[in-house]
């Protein structure tokens, strides 16, 4: 924040917004769900491969997608800027205070960070933010739980889409290997069909 406080910070959202360093956008790898990728891509009119990258994943990863018939698996992660090594969506004020350029569009893991569910209980990761140490008193526990449960449902849907893609790749024979952009197109099409089915 600069020289002037605009009004008292109260909610987790406000605290996150006002954080100038945004170490979470630099030090962590963000794996968006298919829902996140579809939402960002269709709102910004930018194809997924221009803001995500395919990172290698363990071959047992349930959310790992294949690009060929080997056991190699990948996960889509938010891209980082070559110049800043921070999230590609991070923007900077004159004094280098960082803000998220996605705002309300940002992926689910960014929304809930640093909360997580431990046996149904909301907990907060420690030592991950340079701006503060989070406690459950800083968050609305019911809202966080709802957010995290919604994300868990999104991840299940995403696993289903990935499973279909992986089955397609396994059946593809000599047509592979596929590009990351092929996977992204499949993902967009799958989520567009789901969106149309729910209208």
């Amino acid at each position: 924040m600069g020289t002037r406080d605009l009004d008292p910070m109260q909610t987790k959202e406000e605290r996150w917004l006002a954080c100038a360093r945004k170490s979470c956008c630099r030090d962590t790898i963000v794996y968006p769900s298919g829902t996140d990728i579809y939402r960002i891509s269709t709102t910004l009119l930018v194809p997924p491969w221009d803001f995500t990258v395919a990172l290698p994943a363990p071959d047992t990863a349930e959310d790992g997608f294949a690009l060929d018939r080997t056991n190699a698996r990948y996960r889509a992660a938010l891209a980082k800027s070559e110049s800043t090594q921070a999230c590609t969506f991070l923007i900077f004020a004159l004094d280098d205070a960082a803000r998220c350029g996605l705002g309300a569009l940002r992926p689910g893991p960014c929304h809930s960070f640093p909360s997580y569910l431990d046996g149904g209980e909301v907990k907060l990761m420690q030592g991950v933010c340079s701006c503060r140490t989070w406690t459950v008193d800083d968050v609305d526990v019911d809202l966080e739980r709802d957010l995290l449960l919604a994300q868990a449902r999104e991840r299940e849907t995403y696993k289903g889409v990935i499973g279909s893609w992986n089955a397609f790749v396994a059946r593809a024979g000599d047509e592979g290997p596929y590009e990351y952009s092929d996977y992204c197109r499949y993902l967009l099409d799958a989520y567009a069909q789901m969106a149309n089915a729910t209208v």
Partner: protein
């Protein structure tokens, strides 16, 4: 293809974006930034009617969205996000300034047209393929915001004109004034009945035979003056 779909953000690099008080208030509030974190002030070469003073001289300044070097070394808007394949997107899209919201449209003799000679590819904008009602709304709103800002600036300048040279005001004084006055103004529009607000917007700047000071927009500006006094 929609005009901005393959946009690389040349408008965010080649133009300087003038800000009004509403823009400053919106960005500061929504992005939790202090104005000095995203504004550059520029001395006006010609009086625009919305230039603010810092002392009793005739020198006026305007507010401009700050720029910084992008990955290619060129100056670009602070809020431009650089994505893959050279694609650029606005990082404060819901809170972007009035000038960006209406770009590249303008009202000419009451009709909407898209400006020629802009940085977008030739033919990118076509009145036939656009929601003209939405564009009209944006343009009318922009006219009103700049009209209100002219009043806010005039009140500030009247104070500045009485400031002794030794006590010259600073840009930060002006920003504090703006944030305070626009907070007061936020309730003014909210309390206006929708049909009255529409009349203000639709006929901004036009008297339509009404006596001086009696057109809806003039009555609105009188309320603005009272709110910020």
């Amino acid at each position: 293809m929609r005009p901005c779909e393959g946009c690389v953000g040349e408008c965010c690099r080649q133009y300087f974006v003038s800000l009004n008080g509403q823009d400053v208030s919106t960005i500061a509030t929504e992005m939790r930034l202090a104005p000095e974190q995203f504004i550059t002030i520029a001395q006006e070469q010609e009086a625009t009617g919305v230039g603010f003073k810092l002392d009793a001289t005739k020198t006026t300044f305007s507010l401009v969205l700050a720029k910084r070097p992008g990955s290619d070394g060129r100056q670009q808007c602070n809020f431009l996000m650089e994505l893959g394949n050279g694609i650029g997107r606005c990082g404060i899209y819901p809170s972007r300034p009035s000038a960006c919201r209406v770009f590249p449209a303008q009202l000419r003799h009451g009709a909407i047209e898209f400006r020629d000679g802009i940085v977008c590819p030739k033919g990118a904008w076509n009145v036939a393929g656009n929601d003209l009602a939405a564009w009209r709304s944006l343009l009318l709103r922009s006219h009103m915001e700049w009209g209100v800002y002219a009043t806010v600036v005039r009140c500030w300048n009247a104070q500045a004109a009485r400031t002794p040279r030794a006590e010259m005001r600073t840009p930060n004084d002006y920003y504090t004034y703006l944030l305070d006055r626009y907070e007061r103004l936020s309730t003014l529009e909210r309390d206006l009945p929708p049909d009255e607000l529409q009349a203000v917007l639709d006929r901004w700047g036009q008297r339509d035979g009404a006596p001086a000071g009696k057109a809806p927009w003039e009555r609105f500006l009188t309320k603005v003056e009272q709110a910020i006094a």
